[in-house]
Symmetry: C2
DNA sequence: TATAGTTACTTACTTTATGTAAGTAATTAT
DNA sequence: ATAATTACTTACATAAAGTAAGTAACTATA
């Protein structure tokens, strides 16, 4: 038929956002920089998958990882500008969920 | 730590949108009602998974399924109001992808 | 009449992703 | 010497997704 072809950039964005946990990790980091174990307990993701997701998101330039050589070592994850730019999208998801989902 | 707890409605919205293919199926249906094989070829999803997704989305009230007893039978999928309400969200993904992703 | 074509699926099987639980490294506290 | 802490990794089990073939219902063609 004659539906327009998918824009590769849009497709990429979708593939990032439609990966399990990615959205919640970003949403959680909108609360500010935080550590691995905090993200883990806040959203209920397993450490194994969180480790994968943080690596992927860092590779995509959406989050950054800062190491503070304290004891025990403190590692903070935070959103880059690219990651912060996802806030309006998160707001839309919030809005839709408020308007259309029951508890 | 002291990050706020996740809103169950937001979490539900995220679980819908972060399932693989769901976003693209909805995006595709923003072009108007269309048939199974059209969605399939437009976004490159396998029939097996598309079948699952369409059932899930119908259960969620995001799409509806209309049967036209022609030959061969025509079955059209389209967005409900709840599904159409996801358009602003799709626009945000488009915008972000334009602003932050390279080709 | 037999064969092929069409759409919308389903089924069986393989591969990939995710969940669970235990383990590791580096350091400090007890 | 043992336990505690954080940020992971590893090994293994289960769930989700991909691939390809099959099915049902009907029509068109040879």
């Amino acid at each position: 038929m004659d539906t327009p072809q998918l824009c590769p950039r849009f497709e990429k964005a979708m593939s990032i956002m439609s990966q399990r946990w990615t959205g919640l990790v970003i949403y959680q980091l909108l609360n500010g920089p935080q550590r691995f174990c905090n993200i883990e307990s806040a959203i209920g993701i397993s450490g194994r998958v969180l480790s994968d997701r943080l690596k992927d998101l860092e590779t995509e330039g959406i989050i950054k990882r800062d190491v503070f050589p304290e004891t025990p070592v403190r590692i903070e994850y935070s959103l880059t500008d690219k990651g912060l730019a996802l806030q309006p999208l998160m707001k839309e998801i919030e809005k839709w969920s408020q308007d259309w989902l029951q508890i």
